[in-house]
Amino acid sequence: MPSSTMPPNRVLLALALAALGLVWLLNLGVVQPNRIVSGTGYGLYGATGWGGAIIVSSLLLMVCVLAAKPVHKRFLGLAALLTAALMALPLLLEVFALRRLPSDSAYARIGIGAGFWCLAFFLALMLLEALGQIKASRRLQLSIVLLIVAGWWFCAGREGLSSLSLIREYTNRADQFSQALTVHLSLSLGAVAISAVLAFGLALAMVRREHWRRPLLGLVSFMQTIPSLALFGLLIAPLGALSAAFPVLQALGIRGIGWAPALLALIAYSLLPMVRNTYVALMEVPEAVVDAGRGMGMTEQQIFRQVKLPLALPVIIEGVRITTIQAIGLTAVAALIGAGGFGTFIFQGLGQAAMDLVLLGALPTVFLALAADAILSALRFQETSK
């Protein structure tokens, strides 16, 4: 492409200017005397001094220049620049801790300010736009995400960030954290697995018996309409009564609160997207393909296993993706009825007004949902392109 025809990229320009404004206006970080007190905020200059302020500002100005100027392969350069910037972002907090953390107070800690979150968010948006412009492959996108995660992982383990209150909250409950992770994953994935089996049966029943379709779909979409808090609440009384009546259930850990009502509710919510996608996928296999299979002398069983199922798989996986993301989010709510998982940290933190404990629960929940999205999208993409 001749360089003179390349128009300035207004998206990157707007994002970079917005980021520049916000990072100077908002607090980059906060110094807290202890875990509850809100503390004093510091802006970009106050937090990182001239060095940090100049590096951040010139990075954003450089994005502006590259967005406006028709330089050869500018988006590739921009993508590399933004990836590096995102990877190194926690270093800003490290510099902040080094400069501002009082060395004489054992309880003092630094918190992440709105400015830092905005900077991270806008850098990610700019990276997304740059990757879109170079039409990056899925593999490249995934490697970039992994690079950034690795960068943050590395920074989080360094001594300089040990005073970050999020990391302090983590070190104080490392055991509880891994336990929460196990519970969260087993509850949400367990619900997805069970509902996948159930949904497959229901979808098959709907394919075979047309008149079952309306009542079944009506039932599963009715359940999806009930808000999570209400369904969790409604299950407490009947399950509690059952458990009181049958000691066997009690011995199994099935009670009005805890994992049992959570799992039941999660399965109920998972059924709609699963059943709908599986049914649609099986129905949408073209009749001509099935006929071709029959013509080749395949039995109905073979047609189902070797023709219908492989063709329906991408849409079924899409159903699993929607369900998994939803289940991960709902499991966090299930902490309210004592099911455990990352929601425990969120609601404990809200109760104690300890914001970093809230973050310790909310960020991993978001991360799990995004990871599930990435993995299942990749799987579906692979199945589609077969």
């Binding site: 808090l229 609440g233 409604l234 629960g361 929940t365 949902a369």
Partner: protein, 247 residues
């Protein structure tokens, strides 16, 4: 008219139950024996219902305005550059669990009604935005071409052709958004908003199943009422746009 029968019945049931719950003391004493406090009394159920509806209505109004304007902007020639990024934000954003958005609003805005409304607006506009983009993008270009050929201005094309044609898909987005927000607003009780989630949370904290039931039943009824309202609206507007593209 028949389309409105079901929603009206639901509304009557919801309002009647909110009024009658306190009178059902014997029933709840049976559910929660051993205590005299079996009816949630910190606020009246009416007040909670009202405040819950207000939060959802406000967030739906603001969310619809923002999302539809944004959707229109990025599909005009002036904003076309922003389309890929905005549609990616709309789909990636929906991956984030609503409860996390609610929780993350607290460090930024503190406790109370404000962060709840903020989270509801922010999360609720994503499905509307996504459906607005799908609706406007799904219109047959030939239809737009012929509208322009008839001498319509671009504003006329937008208001007389594009928005009516995309209306059904946008409405479906609003329905999704409101359904999610009724559920999220209930959880907003944990960050200090006054909603029907209050009795549920109070009951869970104090181990009072009667409180939990009262809140849960009303939240569930509110969701079903709203859903049947949307069903009726879709049915009625569906007749008007019968010729438009099926979603």
């Amino acid at each position: 008219m028949r389309a409105w029968l079901a929603p009206v019945a639901w509304v009557v049931l919801l309002v009647a139950l909110a009024a009658l719950l306190p009178a059902m003391k014997p029933l709840f004493s049976w559910v929660q024996p051993g205590t005299n406090n079996v009816i949630y009394t910190r606020d009246s159920f009416y007040l909670l219902l009202q405040s819950h509806i207000w939060l959802v209505l406000m967030s739906a109004t603001i969310g619809t305005l923002v999302a539809v304007s944004a959707g229109i902007f990025v599909t005009r020639p002036a904003g076309r550059d922003f389309l890929p990024l905005v549609s990616q934000i709309a789909s990636i954003g929906q991956t984030v669990p609503p409860v996390a958005v609610l929780a993350l609003a607290v460090p930024v805005m503190g406790f109370g009604e404000k962060p709840t409304l903020f989270a509801l607006v922010l999360y609720g506009l994503l499905p509307i935005l996504r459906n607005t983009l799908a609706g406007l993008g799904g219109i047959n270009p030939a239809v737009l071409e012929s509208a322009r050929g008839m001498g319509m201005s671009s504003a006329q094309v937008l208001f007389k052709v594009e928005l009516p044609l995309a209306g059904r898909v946008i409405l479906a987005g609003i329905r999704t958004s409101v359904t999610i927000n009724i559920a999220t607003a209930a959880i907003g009780s944990t960050i200090g908003a006054r909603t029907l989630g209050d009795p549920v949370i109070a009951g869970l904290v104090n181990g009072n199943t009667a409180y939990v039931l009262q809140g849960a039943v009303l939240i569930g009824l509110l969701a079903l009422t709203t859903d049947s309202l949307f069903e009726a609206v879709e049915k009625v507007s569906g007749r008007a746009f019968l010729s438009s593209k099926q979603s």
